[in-house]
């Protein structure tokens, strides 16, 4: 009898599988019902709990019992007295557990669908609305957060008194100038208005029509202020040219000469660049890249790809083509080599590998001045080289790699303050070093490539200086040190303790006498301690992975349960019977 039932159960299961399709259709219906009930995910959670409470009236009591908290021990002891009551519930316990799980899996399943809702084809209206609400909420939250952080970062540059706006901006042209002005617009109060004005002027002057529109969209400017007449004029001018170029490409395709097609594509790329539509330009350059066989032309192509990818802020691609171009370039062609190395350096900055960035900038051959203005100037190379060099090299590295580096010295001539900064570091005159550093700190906050990482970078440079300062001492007065680093003793103590904690300074503070001591390390104990810890970790993690692997091997996993909500859940007895006799 029982076995027969069992078989029936199995058959039913099979039928269910076969009817999956029908169920899938039902699914949407169920979903709709659920959607109405669960407006957002928080509510889903509540839902789960509500359901559980209703379904398993005793669950709360059960959970009490399962509680692991000592805090609740008293509570539990109170329950002890009510044991009779609890014991009535015990018989339901396992059953509840199972029901609870099934229930929840079903719920989660629905909610799973909920999060994926946009992907589901048969969306219904309610779904869309919900999604929108959520998205909007998220967006608002993000914006608020952004606003906050921006407000903090804002106006560091305004504190710098000697900042020469005109001089700073006149060094750049084209896209580089526009980007820098936009950063100023975001980060400075003093120069906000003028920066935006100049940026728009520059865009107009270079006829970057696509970029013009993007700027309006990005900064949510008023559309009334757009210069529609100008846009129309430029568009007409461009349309003609575009047609010309596309015809040329068609002709080239007809003749089917690879090199020729490549050149036409490059022309189209250049044209897109002119329009300020860099992503289209990138596509054209990329297509032309495979067609061109000539060595010098190939290098030109690669340089264009590099340039566009930097403008598009796709630095992974910059690095890829930079490395490819490095193989192509003739070592006598110093300007191209300098361009390539600078581009590679920039992409390393954005990948946060500072050592490699320093290496690239410090090995740039002399001579690059205005040729790469759209991306980087000689001044920037000097600045980047110094900052990343200081952050990653030790004292002798700075002497050999920066101060005695003749080709890099050529760039340092543009920027004597940076040279002084490095020599201050080498000569261990820390107070003037700190002073100079703070100037660069403000400047870097509005730099295109440093504005994301400058706070981390300058912390690193400062910690380098502190390390070097402390190196020859076995103990030193904290107040003396704080004095040299132009900091008050309270915040300096905090800074030092952070450095010690993250392991960059091997020292200990005597806060009673305000003295910093070099740490006495017992290497033997330390290595014992570490190996114990390591072994323990390995053992635990491997064990867990083994079970994970075995679960996979036997194909055990939490599965989605597709069931109607009103369906009866299997009782405990069903569960037992299904588990094979």
């Amino acid at each position: 009898m029982e076995i027969e039932k069992n078989l029936n159960n199995n058959n039913n299961n099979n039928n269910n599988n076969n009817n999956n399709q029908i169920e899938m259709e039902n699914q949407n219906q169920i979903e709709m019902e659920n959607q109405i009930e669960m407006e957002n995910q928080n509510q889903i959670q509540n839902q789960i709990e509500m359901e559980n409470q209703n379904e398993n009236q005793n669950q709360n009591e059960n959970q009490n019992q399962i509680e692991m908290e000592n805090q609740n021990q008293i509570e539990i002891e109170n329950q002890n007295e009510n044991q009779n009551e609890n014991q009535n519930e015990m018989e339901n316990q396992i059953q509840n557990q199972i029901e609870m799980e099934n229930q929840n899996e079903n719920q989660n399943e629905n909610q799973n669908e909920n999060t994926n809702e946009i992907r589901i084809e048969n969306q219904n209206e309610i779904e869309i609305e919900d999604g929108k609400e959520n998205n909007q909420k998220n967006q608002n939250q993000n914006q608020n957060q952004k606003m906050q952080t921006e407000a903090e970062e804002q106006s560091i540059i305004d504190t710098l008194e000697e900042f020469d706006f005109d001089n700073y901006i006149s060094k750049y042209s084209g896209n580089s100038k526009i980007q820098r002005l936009l950063i100023l617009y975001k980060k400075s109060r003093k120069y906000k208005e003028i920066a935006l004005k100049m940026a728009l002027e520059e865009v107009k002057a270079s006829k970057h029509i696509t970029q013009y529109i993007t700027i309006f969209n990005e900064f949510k400017l008023k559309y009334q202020e757009t210069d529609n007449v100008w846009i129309q004029n430029v568009e007409e001018e461009y349309a003609k040219k575009q047609e010309e170029l596309e015809n040329a490409l068609k002709n080239a395709r007809l003749r089917n000469v690879q090199d020729h097609i490549g050149l036409c594509l490059v022309d189209l790329g250049d044209f897109s660049c002119k329009k300020g539509d860099f992503s289209t330009a990138y596509k054209y350059y990329l297509r032309s890249n495979t067609m061109i066989t000539n060595r010098t032309q190939k290098l030109e192509r690669l340089l264009k790809l590099i340039e566009v990818s930097i403008i598009l802020k796709n630095f992974g691609i910059t690095l890829k083509y930079g490395e490819e171009a490095e193989r192509f370039v003739d070592s006598s062609d110093k300007i191209s080599l300098a361009k390539i190395k600078a581009a590679i350096g920039i992409s390393y900055i954005h990948q946060e590998s500072y050592t490699k960035a320093a290496q690239s900038f410090l090995s740039i051959p002399e001579g690059l001045q205005e040729e790469f203005r759209e991306i980087i100037t000689g001044y920037d190379i000097g600045l980047y080289g110094i900052l990343f060099g200081l952050a990653t090299k030790n004292r002798y590295g700075i002497l050999n790699g920066i101060l005695n580096n003749s080709s890099f010295g050529w760039y340092l001539e543009n920027i004597p303050e940076a040279h002084n900064l490095a020599s201050d570091f080498y000569n261990a005159s820390y107070s003037s070093f700190t002073m100079r550093l703070s100037q660069f700190h403000a400047l870097s906050s509005i730099d295109i490539h440093l504005s994301n990482c400058y706070s981390k970078l300058f912390k690193l440079i400062r910690s380098k200086a502190i390390q070097q300062y402390f190196f020859p001492f076995s103990s030193i007065s904290l107040s003396l040190m704080a004095n040299d680093f132009l900091s008050d003793i309270g915040s300096f103590e905090k800074e030092i303790s952070e450095l010690i904690f993250d392991g960059s300074l091997s020292a200990k503070i005597d806060a009673f006498n305000m003295v910093l001591h070099k740490r006495q390390v017992d290497i033997r104990s330390e290595s014992y301690e570490k190996s114990f810890e390591f072994g323990e970790n390995y053992y635990r993690k491997t064990k867990m992975l083994l079970l994970f692997a075995n679960l996979k091997k036997s194909n055990l996993k939490v599965k989605k349960i597709k069931k109607r909500k009103d369906q009866n859940y299997p009782s405990l007895d069903d569960f037992k019977r299904n588990r094979k006799d």
Binding site: I66, M68, Y528, G535, I561
Partner: protein, 424 residues
């Protein structure tokens, strides 16, 4: 039926006979089902350890009858389970597992869960074909121990690491596994073994899944607290956690994530604020006690961190750092921590300052080397397991096929081998 009884008695000898018996028993299932009334008589005539195979068969069949006297059935199971012989259990572990499950069920039905503790504790090792095997009874045992507050009774089973699964011999559901690690984590938590608790919860969370189980959800909530108590910082899930699970957990446990984030700032004020805003949710989830313990541990963790950066520190400063009322309170905390071995320090009351030291353990005692050797043994055993698993994978037909598709070289080599063979 008489014949069956005879068979059981006669064939309970060597392995060969037992195999025959197993077949005979399997064939007689229908007969037994029709003759429930005389089962009890047969059970009475059999000895527990000598006729384990037959007896566990009959007892497990008896579970399918609805008209049994539960008290009598429980007594039968209770007596039989600890006395069974392992090699006979291993022939058909499924039946024995049924007996254990039935027994647990009956103990709950009759409201005497404490009676299930001893048989389960003895029965689980008998059921394991290898000591690392995880069985369905593991989760039942943990539940029983939690109910009866008999936490220490769970330890022998808990501390025996399990990571093997053998569905061919003993079927197990994913829920059994999940529940074992959830309950086990709770028991470790009660015993304040937070690191073990963290591991158990993590194990539950990382069970492969296409959907989120309620057990995983609850495990994650407790996991965050256990991890904070064990390591003093917010956890990050292992990379092999199922992406669906990670996404849903992050969405569903926002208050918990925020709490962990607040803890990581090491700022007492922020943590208190977070605790106040989410108090209701924690209370409803019955995790408020854990949250409070975490908040308390923040000060202790902070003081422990100080020992890494300071040699001497005025008590006043410590009190200020952690928003304590007075230097006396700071002194009290440090005294307590010295006593528990959480910090190594000396208090100079005259001057009102504390001196911190490194761990004075010299690592040159014989106990330490013994500890080291035993740890090395553990790891070597584990490595052997890994090797067998590796061999299993490398020799797996599907795996070879798959890697051959990926790697053309393999095919080339393969064809060379084939050519070589055909040449000969």
């Amino acid at each position: 039926m008489e014949k069956l009884l005879q068979q059981i008695v006669q064939l309970s000898g060597n392995q060969k006979d037992l195999d025959k018996l197993r077949k005979a028993l399997n064939e007689s299932k229908d007969k037994v089902l029709k003759n429930f009334q005389i089962i009890d008589g047969m059970i009475g005539q059999l000895e527990d350890s000598k006729h384990t195979l037959g007896k566990m068969f009959l007892l497990s069949m008896k579970g399918q009858s609805r008209s049994t006297n539960p008290e009598q059935y429980l007594v039968q199971l209770e007596r039989f389970i600890p006395r069974a012989t392992q090699n006979q259990v291993q022939i058909m572990p499924e039946w024995y597992s049924n007996c254990l499950t039935r027994m647990t069920q009956l103990a709950f039905d009759l409201k005497v869960p404490q009676r299930a503790v001893y048989p389960l504790q003895k029965g689980i090792p008998l059921l394991q074909t290898v000591p690392e095997l995880i069985t369905p009874s593991h989760s039942h045992f943990m539940l029983v121990c939690l109910y009866t507050r008999n936490y220490r009774a769970a330890l022998p089973i808990l501390e025996n690491d399990v990571y093997d699964i053998d569905t061919k011999k003993l079927s197990i559901t994913v829920k059994d596994v999940l529940l074992y690690y959830y309950y086990g984590g709770i028991i470790y938590g009660v015993l304040k073994r937070w690191r073990d608790a963290t591991d158990f919860f993590e194990q539950a969370i990382t069970v492969p899944g296409e959907a989120l189980s309620a057990i995983v959800l609850e495990s994650y909530k407790k996991y965050i607290f256990a991890h904070i108590l064990a390591f003093g910082k917010a956890p990050s899930l292992p990379r092999y956690t199922s992406p669906v699970v990670v996404r849903l957990l992050k969405n569903l446990c926002k208050p918990y994530e925020e709490f962990a984030k607040a803890y990581d700032t090491h700022d007492m004020g922020q943590l208190d604020m977070c605790l106040a805003t989410h108090n209701e949710i924690f209370e409803k989830d019955k995790n408020i006690g854990l949250a409070k313990q975490c908040a308390q541990s923040l000060i202790r963790r902070g003081i422990q961190r100080l020992t890494k950066t300071y040699i001497k520190l005025p008590l006043e400063q410590i009190a200020k750092e952690f928003n304590l009322k007075s230097a006396q309170q700071a002194e009290f905390y440090i005294l307590d921590m010295i006593e528990k071995g959480e910090v190594f320090a000396k208090i100079d009351q005259q001057e009102g300052q504390v001196s911190f030291f490194d761990d004075p353990e010299p690592y040159n005692t014989s106990e330490m080397s013994e500890k080291l050797i035993s740890k090395i043994k553990d790891v070597t055993n584990l490595t052997e397991k890994l090797q067998t698993l590796d061999e299993f994978i490398v020799t797996d037909l599907d795996y070879i096929r798959k890697t051959m598709d990926d790697d053309e070289e393999f095919e080339v080599q393969d064809s060379i081998v084939k050519d070589g063979v055909s040449d000969k």
